[in-house]
C-alpha cells in the first residue's frame, strides 16, 4: 500500500480515508488480456499495447477499475472481504483530440452487501470530492441499468431482443436503430435457406429441438469439429428455432411505445419514484423489486446530500455487459464535459476470474478537467 497523495491540500486523502479506502499504488503496465476480455475487442483501438521480453502483451492502463479489481482478486477471498480502494494517477487512451494521457483519481467499493446504501455512498463521495477540488454548480445525472433490464424482462420480450436492446442501452443512435429494426414486420421464414436438407426442415418445422440438435451433432462430427470446443448442437438448434419463431413476429406498437416512453423519462430524482411507479402501473408491469431498490437508493441519497441538482434519465446507461445497476455522471460550472463518471459493475469481478459475482461500485474523477479552464457548454466533446 502507499501513502495518499496531497491533491487539493490532502482533502481527497481525508475524504476517501474517512470512507474507509486503502490507497493503492498500481502498475502502469498491465496484461492486455483482462481489458479485452471485459470490454471486448473494440477497446483495442483506444488502448496503447506493447510487448514484454517474451512476446506477452501489455497495455498502458486505460482506467483504474480493472487494475483495482485484479488487485482485490490477487489478495484473495474476493467474495467475503468487502474492501474500499482509492487511487490517483495517469491513465492512457488513444483519442481523436486531446492528450493521450490524463490524471484521474477515484474510488472503488468491492464486496459491499447493501446495494442502495453503497450506491448512495459512492455518489455522495464523488460529489464531495469534486466540491473539495473546487468545482461549483454540480449537475448530476443518474441512470439505472438494472431497472431497464427488469423492464425488458417484465415486457416478456424474447431473449434475443432483450440482449439486443440491453447492448444498445446508453447509445441513443443504436437504440433507435434497433427499436426500428424490431418493430418492422419480419420477412417470413428468414434463414430458411441455411437449412441443409429435408431432414433438417422436417425437424425444424415440427419444432423438434432434440431431433434438430441430433442432426447438428452429426454435422459437427462429420465436419471434424473438436467436441466441446465451441457452440454445441443444443445451443445452435435452440437458437435456430427461436429465430424461426421470431421471424414470424415483431415488436408490437404498444410495447414499442412503452419502451420509447421509458427511454424518454428525464426528471428530477425527487419526482422519479412517483413517475416510475405510475409508469409501471399504467403499463400493467410488475417492477416492484427494482422499484423498491430505486426508492431505497433515492432515499439513501437524500440522507447524504441535497438532491435538487440530481436528475434521473431512463435512457442513461452503458452498453457494456458488466455494468448492472446505478450509473452516474457529474458536470460542473455550467460546462458539458463530464468531470466524474461512476457505476455499479457487479459482473466484472467474475469476468476477471472470481468464482461468483461480487457486488462492486466505483467512480473516477477527471483531474485534468478540474482546476483548468474548461470548454464552454455546447462546444466540448462528452
Amino acid at each position: 500500500m502507499t501513502s495518499a497523495p496531497d491533491t487539493a491540500g490532502g482533502a481527497l486523502a481525508r475524504l476517501f480515508g474517512e470512507a474507509g479506502a486503502t490507497w493503492l499504488d498500481l502498475a502502469v503496465l498491465h496484461p492486455v488480456e483482462p481489458f479485452l476480455e471485459a470490454a471486448g475487442e473494440d477497446i483495442r483501438r483506444r488502448i496503447f499495447v506493447t510487448e514484454g521480453a517474451s512476446g506477452e502483451r501489455y497495455c498502458l492502463r486505460p482506467d483504474f477499475t480493472i487494475p483495482v479489481c485484479r488487485h482485490h482478486l490477487a489478495i484473495g477471498a474476493p467474495a467475503k472481504n468487502a474492501a474500499r480502494y482509492a487511487y490517483e494517477g495517469l491513465v492512457f487512451r488513444r483519442q481523436d483530440a486531446g492528450a493521450p494521457e490524463r490524471l484521474e483519481t477515484g474510488f472503488e467499493a468491492i464486496g459491499g452487501a447493501d446495494e442502495a446504501e453503497d450506491d448512495a455512498a459512492a455518489l455522495a463521495l464523488a460529489a464531495q470530492a469534486i466540491a473539495a477540488l473546487g468545482a461549483t454548480d454540480l449537475q448530476i445525472r443518474i441512470g439505472d441499468i438494472g431497472l431497464f433490464t427488469a423492464l425488458l424482462e417484465a415486457l416478456d420480450l424474447p431473449a434475443a431482443w432483450r440482449r439486443r436492446l440491453r447492448r444498445s442501452f446508453g447509445v441513443p443512435a443504436l437504440m433507435k436503430a434497433n427499436l426500428a429494426r424490431l418493430a418492422e414486420p419480419a420477412v417470413p421464414d428468414a434463414g430458411e435457406n441455411t437449412l441443409v436438407d429435408a431432414k433438417f426442415a422436417r425437424a425444424a418445422h415440427a419444432g423438434d429441438t432434440k431431433a434438430l440438435a441430433a442432426l447438428v451433432t452429426d454435422m459437427l462430427a462429420t465436419h471434424g469439429h473438436i467436441p466441446g470446443a465451441g457452440r454445441n448442437a443444443a445451443e445452435i438448434a435452440g437458437r435456430y428455432l427461436d429465430q424461426l419463431a421470431l421471424s414470424e413476429t415483431h415488436l408490437d406498437a404498444q410495447t414499442l411505445a412503452l419502451l420509447e416512453a421509458y427511454l424518454a423519462i428525464d426528471l428530477p430524482l425527487a419526482e422519479a419514484d412517483d413517475r416510475l411507479a405510475a409508469f409501471a402501473g399504467e403499463a400493467g408491469l410488475d417492477l416492484a423489486g427494482p422499484l423498491a431498490l430505486f426508492a431505497a437508493r433515492a432515499a439513501a441519497i437524500g440522507e447524504r446530500m441535497a438532491t435538487d441538482n440530481i436528475r434521473f434519465a431512463g435512457g442513461f446507461g452503458r452498453p457494456l455487459d458488466y455494468y448492472t445497476g446505478l450509473v452516474f455522471q457529474i458536470t460542473a460550472g455550467g460546462h458539458d464535459d463530464s468531470i466524474a463518471g461512476g457505476g455499479r459493475y457487479d459482473r466484472l469481478m467474475e469476468m476477471l476470474g472470481a468464482a461468483a459475482p461480487v457486488p462492486a461500485i466505483g467512480f473516477a474523477i477527471r483531474l485534468d478537467r478540474l482546476g483548468k479552464p474548461q470548454t464552454p457548454a455546447g462546444e466540448g466533446a462528452p
Binding site: 471486448g40 475487442e41 447492448r167 445452435i236 469476468m351
Partner: protein, 251 residues
C-alpha cells in the same frame, strides 16, 4: 542525374506473373538483372525508372512511407496494413487480376447464423454460455475491427492467425474467421459459409499511387508515359486524379 521513378511490383507468384504480363501487353519489358534473386530491376529502354521487387504487403507499406512512387498491390493489403490509408495512397485503377474477397465465415453447422446480425446476437450471449468471448481468427485485424464496429459488434476477441485460418473453427482455436477467398472453395472444403452480409471488401490488384512520395515534374512525366501505355481503361485518369489531390495545398 535526377532521382528515378520507383515502381514496386510483386516479387513472386501469380501477382508477379500477371503484373509483368500487363506491362508486356503495354509494350514494356520488366528486366531483372542478375536473375531472379535480384530485388531491383528496370524497364527495358526506359531510363529514370527503377523497379523494386517486394512482397505485396511490403509494397503497401513502402507506398505509405513514400519510398516508392507507384506499386501494384491488393486493396486488402492497403486497407489492412496502412493506417489512414486514404491520405497516404490513392488507388489509380483496379487491374483486373488478384481478385479476392475478405469475408466473415462461420461453420456450416451454425444453421442459425446467416447474417452479421445473427453473429452479433451469438457474440452477445456467448460469455454467459461459454465463460469466454466469441473468438474470431484472422490476420486482418484492422479490417475486422472496423467492420465489426460498423455493425455495432464489440463483444468478441480476435485471435491472430498467420496461416490455415480456415482450419481454426474445427480445431477449436476460434469460433469464426475473417479471411480472404477468391472462389470460396477452401472455405467450403473446411465446412465454412460466408455470411450473407459478411463481405468486408471485394479486393483486387490495383495500381496504387503514393501520396507521400516526392513527385517533381520529370517523375510525373515518366510515370504518365508508362501508365498511358498500360492497356487498362481509365488508369491514366486515375493517375492524374492522384496528382491533382497532391496539388491541393495542405490545410
Amino acid at each position: 542525374m535526377s532521382d528515378p521513378l520507383v515502381i514496386a511490383i510483386p516479387s513472386k507468384g501469380r501477382m508477379q506473373e500477371k503484373t509483368e504480363a500487363l506491362f508486356k501487353a503495354g509494350g514494356i519489358a520488366v528486366e531483372k538483372p542478375g536473375g531472379s534473386r535480384n530485388y531491383r530491376g528496370r524497364l527495358r529502354g526506359v531510363d529514370d525508372v527503377e523497379i523494386a521487387f517486394l512482397s505485396a504487403s511490403e509494397i503497401a507499406r513502402e507506398l505509405a512511407a513514400g519510398r516508392v512512387h507507384l506499386g501494384v498491390t491488393g486493396e486488402d493489403l492497403v486497407r489492412e496494413t496502412v493506417p489512414d490509408a486514404d491520405n497516404r495512397i490513392a488507388l489509380a485503377s483496379p487491374l483486373g487480376f488478384g481478385r479476392a474477397d475478405v469475408v466473415v465465415a462461420v461453420p456450416q453447422a451454425w444453421i442459425d447464423v446467416s447474417s452479421m446480425e445473427d453473429l452479433d446476437d451469438v457474440a452477445a450471449g456467448f460469455r454467459a454460455g461459454h465463460g469466454r468471448r466469441l473468438r474470431i481468427a484472422t490476420k486482418y485485424w484492422n479490417l475486422t475491427e472496423r467492420f465489426f464496429a460498423s455493425h455495432g459488434i464489440a463483444l468478441y476477441r480476435i485471435v491472430e492467425s498467420l496461416g490455415a485460418t480456415e482450419g481454426a473453427p474445427a480445431a477449436g482455436l476460434a469460433d469464426a474467421i475473417v479471411d480472404i477467398t477468391s472462389t470460396g472453395a477452401t472455405l467450403h472444403a473446411n465446412h465454412l459459409k460466408i455470411l450473407d452480409d459478411g463481405v468486408i471488401l471485394r479486393s483486387e490488384a490495383n495500381l496504387a499511387v503514393s501520396l507521400r512520395a516526392a513527385w517533381p515534374a520529370p517523375i510525373r512525366t515518366v510515370a504518365g508515359r508508362i501508365v498511358d501505355a498500360l492497356p487498362v481503361a481509365e488508369i491514366a485518369g486515375g493517375l492524374q486524379r492522384a496528382f491533382a489531390r497532391m496539388d491541393i495545398p495542405a490545410g
